[in-house]
């Protein structure tokens, strides 16, 4: 590594000591700490609303398409693996591996967002909106008739709270994934330009932390929103 390269790529020595990690990584962890509180606020609100109004929620799988979301969950888990494989590749100095794994992460992450959009379109079509049932839709009719629905009991008479919390939580998560894909595109582009080396790959590690956090949040959301 040349002296000039070190001067432009490496953080100043006086800012690198103290915390034990370089500044970008420290900054990402602090940001993720704030994200924990952000999603805790959403999840906390969800829990209190669900405890207070249990009849406003349908049984798992009655309204939401759990099989499709389970496949999407699997995709997000796969994208975490491709991301960490990209990180391992750059640590080992494998430039080709880095680019391929990053590209795979972008594609799988984009697929997750596309499937979530498909899920929203389907739910809107069936009549499940953030404000509740859509007038004249299939779900609205079933709820009005009070008949058993998809192997479960009758649908709730009103799903305004259910819709609001569902779209808020999954929507904010989807927004995070979308931002992650966009940032990952930039990192991938930089990887193809040869920016990251086995000794300096801060961009890859920092976006990786964000990506895995988004995966971690989805693990929690999938459980409490779709399965419970």
């Amino acid at each position: 590594m040349t002296h000039a390269h070190t001067a432009t790529m490496g953080p100043p020595a006086e800012t690198a000591v103290g915390s034990g990690v370089y500044n970008e990584k420290l900054g990402m962890w602090v940001f993720l700490g704030s994200e924990v509180m952000f999603f805790t606020a959403l999840i906390g609100s969800y829990i209190i609303l669900r405890f207070a109004h249990p009849v406003a929620w349908a049984q798992p799988g009655q309204i939401l398409n759990v099989p499709v979301t389970a496949i999407n969950t699997f995709f997000l888990i796969c994208s975490s693996v491709t991301m960490v494989k990209a990180f391992a590749a750059v640590q080992d100095g494998d430039q080709k591996g880095l680019r391929l794994w990053l590209l795979a992460t972008v594609i799988i992450g984009g697929t997750f967002v596309a499937i979530q959009v498909f899920e929203y379109v389907q739910l809107f079509h069936h009549g499940f909106l953030p404000s509740g049932y859509r007038e004249g839709a299939e779900l609205t009719e079933a709820a009005a008739q009070g008949v058993a629905w998809k192997g479960g009991p009758a649908l709730p008479a009103s799903v305004g709270l259910y819709g609001t919390t569902f779209y808020t939580m999954t929507g904010f998560h989807g927004f995070h994934v979308t931002m992650g894909v966009l940032c990952m595109l930039y990192v991938t582009w930089q990887a193809f330009r040869g920016k990251y080396t086995s000794t300096d790959h801060r961009g890859v590690e920092v976006i990786g932390l964000y990506w895995h956090f988004v995966d971690l949040v989805w693990i929690v959301l999938f459980t409490i929103v779709y399965l419970i």
Partner: protein, 94 residues
């Protein structure tokens, strides 16, 4: 120049991926195939979700290999999150 990450042997990422996939599959089985009580199902789902989250945090985010100082930074928001959840639950429980 600062090293970007602590040097360590790569964990078995594919093995962890398989475990995450199996746990997700089991979650679906507990909800849709087996007929257990609601409280049992919720308990099992929470345990599996925590297990999956720990796998991601420890191995994919490399917290297992980080310094104690960074681990403390990473878990610092969790007690605050628990306090927040307990605080909002009191709206309903008490």
């Amino acid at each position: 120049m600062t090293e970007p990450a602590t040097k360590h042997a790569h964990p078995n990422y594919i093995g962890i991926w398989l475990l995450l996939a199996v746990l997700t599959f089991l979650e679906l089985g507990v909800v849709f195939v087996a007929h257990f009580g609601k409280l049992f199902v919720i308990s099992v789902l929470v345990v599996m979700a925590v297990w999956k989250a720990l796998l991601v945090a420890l191995y994919f985010m490399h917290l297992r290999f980080e310094t104690n100082r960074l681990r403390i930074l990473a878990i610092a928001p969790l007690p605050l999150a628990v306090i927040m959840i307990l605080a909002v639950i009191t709206e309903y429980v008490w």
